[in-house]
Symmetry: C2
Subunit: 219 residues, 2 copies
Amino acid sequence: MRRTFDGELQSMHGQFTKMGLMVNENILRAVKAFINHDKNLAMEAKKKDKDINEIEVAIENFCFQLIALQQPVSSDLRSIVMVMKASSDLERMGDHAVSIARSVIRVKERHNKRIPEVEAKIAEMAEIVKSMVEQVIDAYVRVDEEDAYRIAQIDSEVDKHFVEINHYCIKQMAMDPEVVPGGSDYIAVAGYLERIGDYVTNICERIVYLKTGEILELN
Amino acid sequence: MRRTFDGELQSMHGQFTKMGLMVNENILRAVKAFINHDKNLAMEAKKKDKDINEIEVAIENFCFQLIALQQPVSSDLRSIVMVMKASSDLERMGDHAVSIARSVIRVKERHNKRIPEVEAKIAEMAEIVKSMVEQVIDAYVRVDEEDAYRIAQIDSEVDKHFVEINHYCIKQMAMDPEVVPGGSDYIAVAGYLERIGDYVTNICERIVYLKTGEILELN
């Protein structure tokens, strides 16, 4: 009985990890589409989000059945609850990837005036976010509380990038009207990345919860 | 035993409803602060968010104990899971209220050039969002699936407002550089309201789940 249950817990963790990797891939896809103005890739990111939503539903149902049939307590229950809540965070990170993809698709052939230095900054920001997502999935697998604290701290770098991009774009938009439509897209995309960083922080909080049973605010 | 359990479920629903009302109040507070450029009110909204975070933690712990001690199945378990996940949605709606409040506090005495027609549109948008939040709490209490479908549909009006505000601000910012800092704040605030509408839709989906056991996408 316990062996079956352990196997099912393993399977749940596996599904969650898989979902995390799918989300990370889709964030990268969306950001790449944005940087390269690649509408096809953006469409692909939009499509892939369906798979992410499906796996979230599957995970939720699986967790529900696990609780109903196995009536787990203490740390097992805690880890199931963790996956149920954190899979919502992953799903929303995926939604933000779609929002980034949409901003690529939305742009008509209007040839927005681009700001290369902002695009470079967004690429840099995306790189940090990507590494946060990768690390948090890894920390989750190992239930590594120390790592969770450390990863949550990287979020302040993400926030710093957001503020810088925001200020820089506003300055540029005020100087050159042609920059306005593109600039406001830059701000939006940086905002999505910033929110993804927040969700990673949420998952870090859940790892701490898994280890200690304490629900903390890490930002 | 069952009587105690029913009482505890009632208490859980009561806590969730209370949290919903607190979040709604804080959204209104933040939007009012934004429209009236009222920094004190914005500071108050920021403070109140702590209470919201605390009640979320309390609800999560309460739900966890309920599952661990009572080992509920089927519809009871479903309603506990619903509250656990939907309280995260409420908490994030609260976070967006804080983001709106922050954009009020951030503005130095720089006297942004205002666009009254956009402020009116944001107030209108906030009114719709407020009514969605109120209705979803009510639908949740009554587990009213029909209402959940109806409320989720209102979200398209919220999205429409967002797109309109976005386009109008971009046009104005391109015509008048002095409008740029304020215009980009308008777009951000409309974006937060739009996200709050999305979270309401999530809760609608959870009401449907509570009634039918089916996890749907309503947007």
